[in-house]
Amino acid sequence: MSAYILRRLLYAIPILIGVNLITFLLFFVVNSPDDMARMQLGDKRVTQEAIDTWKAEHGYDKPLLFNADAGGLGTVTETIFFDKSLKLFAFDFGQSDSGRDIGFDIRQRMWPSLAIAIPTLLVGLAISVSYALMIVFFRATYIDFGSVVLLVAMMSISGLFYIIGGQFLIGKLFHLVPISGYDTGLEALKFLILPVVVGVVAGIGSSTRLYRTFFLEEINRDYVRTARAKGLRERVVLFRHVLRNALIPILTGVVAVLPLLFMGALIIESFFGVPGLGSYTIDAINRQDFSIVRAMVFLGSVLYIIGLLMTDISYTLVDPRVRLS
């Protein structure tokens, strides 16, 4: 087991290097630091001095890959690639373009993101699994048909409308909870309700439909027929046999997204004014803060790879038929 994990971890390294190279190409080669400076200074007729000062302030004044002026090891280390890209591997994100420490910001903003993402995931999972189970219990009836139509309709609505609608109905019309904002400690609870509800409702359509197909796949298996043949009631068959086996793909799917919860929900956070990592990213995109976007790209990739690894491991834990190789 540990040898397998180690091998998978080693396998992650070339992928991270690849991600790093892609971001480096995107941010520094496609457009030179000069272009970025001109964009940030926002004027057509920017003097070369202004560009140079901006570059020096933000540490973009070094050569891209190879520094001939610095001797010895400096030829490699005194470069933008080393400074801005390789340091990401040590989770040293450096400073944002507005001068804040990105690592500190990420550690701060992680918690509000998790406070929304975890309840959304758990409540959504509970609702979707039970609803899907109910549909399967009543399969081939009007309840099944009506539910599927409802789910497809729910899937066809853009997530933006759930947010806008939720904000409008619950926040503005009924004045139940504040529309947006955030607070520390337990006070945060009242700000969390609405984003969580919206996140859950927006996700029900696609996840319930997916879980329904998982259940339906299991229900035609031999062991289900055996269970029925030995006289078990449909309810028992569903809960004791089908549910347990269908949970394998459901849970491994959930495990894959667990690490990404840190990244937060981009749109929901920025709509509801929650100071999480999602709104951090959105703000950075809007302010065109390249350092933050670069850091988040790298962080997201790391978390994604951890997710892949966790999925593989969890498969072997819940399904003894799968062997690590």
Binding site: I22, R38, Y304
Partner: protein, 500 residues
């Protein structure tokens, strides 16, 4: 003077590919069978009719041209014959570009073309496009939504809601509006029904000829739903769409049926224009990524070994970057490039078009991995199939094996992916536009409509119509696409077919 934008070219290429593929599929049983099954499903047919309406509008909106400006001196225009006009296109273009700096400049010489790029749809809806109000007005309103100082005939100034410049101006007395709307709506409905009856008669006549039955027998068979294909459902959907469009057209001639936005532009017109953007994103993205995904996926599965490793590494790397962030990074870079090379783009439309294409490409880069992985798995299986082994042992070249044996057997996966991805991409556009990394802000799109309308929700009373319009148009398209995708998947995926 026609002008072909890059996305237009790709759209027509897509249609050509689609037709070519249709001909190919019709000749091969393993592809024709599932499609016939799609045609036999009533949900599939209804969804197809709705999608065809959208596609029709999108296509009209894809034929772009520079409108001709009526010359100030009419004599010059009269003397120039069409052939001369052709010869003068170059000259006109030069004047057009020269005029880019001084818009509204007077033109001296004969046929000149505006630098503005419009589409056939714009021409068709020129009434809607040109009837701009000052600012917000509610659907079917005769007055502006906000109070303004109105000068009375006697010179005094009163604060009130001024009449609209275009919406409902034909009414002498605004209180008669309800009756007028009902009458016009009824008239539109009747025209729609007449057109529908005419279309239905032609269809039944054609079908009767094919079935070698009398007209009445065919009509009865269709009406009782006894036909192999659910013509009845198709016809009912068609009736619904025709009546809706004719009522809308009739009313839109005199009112702003979905209101106007902040700068007074008709929301109905914006919604119609947004259709093309949605369709382009939904289809071109898949088209753009298709060659890479197909070639790499098949190569990885078929050759295996080192090739497989490299390709798997490639798509795992790309996949591990969160999609939104990769798009954001790429679009930010495009923006930097565009600000620094502003002179490369002749007009706003071309610039917006390039951004749309770029968005499609980058969306494709983030979404091709799924298809690639599916194709890899399938060709991995096919590689071991007896007929592939036989072909190999007979000395057939790899390229021939792939094109003759592997590719035709994975085509259904490509098709399912294309249909399945469509609705997700249309929805993604709205979200991306909200984050300002979607299509160009000057381009009409549902995402941009939502984005600008969102800020107006804080007003009291609420400005809801832009949101409602975007919701309605998007929901209809995405719902139809989702329903169609379900039917297509059921038809092509034998494993699921047995499960349900």
């Amino acid at each position: 003077m026609p002008i072909i934008l890059i996305t237009d070219t790709l759209i027509f290429l897509l249609i050509a590919v689609g037709i070519g593929f249709g001909v190919y599929a019709a000749r091969h049983e393993h592809l024709r069978g599932p499609w016939l099954q799609v045609g036999r499903s009533s949900v599939g047919v209804a969804a197809l009719v709705v999608i065809l309406f959208y596609v029709g509008i999108g296509l009209l909106d894809s034929l772009h041209f520079h409108p001709r400006i009526e010359p100030v001196v009419p004599v010059a225009a009269l003397t120039s014959t069409p052939t001369q006009a052709d010869a003068e296109v170059d000259a006109a273009e030069q004047t057009a570009t020269a005029r880019a700096q001084q818009i509204n400049g007077r033109d001296e010489d004969a046929p000149t073309y505006s630098t503005q790029i419009i589409s056939v749809l714009d021409l068709w809806l020129s009434g809607l496009r040109e009837r701009q109000e000052k600012t917000f007005s509610a659907p079917f309103a005769t007055q502006l939504f906000v109070k303004e100082a109105i000068e009375q005939p006697d010179g005094s100034v009163v604060r009130g809601y001024p009449r609209l410049e275009h919406g409902g101006t034909h009414l002498g007395d605004p209180s008669r509006r309800g009756v007028d709307i009902a009458l016009r709506g009824l008239f539109g409905m009747l025209t729609g029904l007449i057109v529908w009856v005419a279309l239905m008669a032609i269809l039944i006549a054609v079908l009767a000829l094919r079935w070698r039955q009398s007209f009445n027998e065919s009509a009865q068979a269709i009406w009782r739903g006894e036909t192999e294909f659910p013509w009845r459902v198709g016809l009912i959907t068609l009736a619904l769409m025709l009546v809706l469009s004719f009522v809308a057209a009739e009313l839109a001639a005199k009112y702003h049926i979905l209101g106007t936005d902040k700068v007074g532009e008709d929301v109905f017109y914006q919604s119609l224009k947004s259709i093309r953007t949605g369709l382009v994103i939904g289809t071109l993205t898949t088209l753009v990524m298709l060659p890479a995904a197909v070639i790499l996926g098949i190569m990885a599965g078929y050759f295996g070994g080192r090739t497989d490793d490299v390709i798997q590494y490639l798509y795992t790397t790309l996949n591990s970057i969160p999609g939104v962030l990769l798009i954001a990074a790429a679009i930010l870079m495009l923006q930097v490039y565009m600000t620094n090379h502003a002179d490369q783009f002749q007009s706003l439309v071309e610039r917006a078009d390039l951004r749309l294409l770029f968005l499609c490409i980058i969306l494709g880069v983030t979404s091709w991995t799924g298809l690639c992985r599916l194709l890899r798995g399938e060709s991995l299986k096919l590689r071991e199939a007896d007929y592939v082994q036989a072909a190999r042992s007979l000395g057939v070249r790899h390229s021939t094996v792939i094109s003759r044996h592997i590719l035709p057997n994975v085509l259904h996966i490509v098709m399912i992916t294309l249909v399945l991805d469509f609705s997700g991409l249309v929805l993604a556009e709205a979200v991306l536009s909200y984050v300002n990394i979607g299509v160009d802000p000057t381009m009409n799109s549902w995402g941009n409509m939502i984005n600008s309308a969102r800020l107006e929700l804080a007003r009291d009373p609420v400005v809801w119509w832009s949101l409602a319009a975007a919701f309605m148009f998007m929901f209809t398209l995405v719902l139809a696409a989702n329903l169609l995708a379900d039917v297509v998947r059921d038809a092509f995926d034998p494993r699921l077919r047995s499960a349900t």
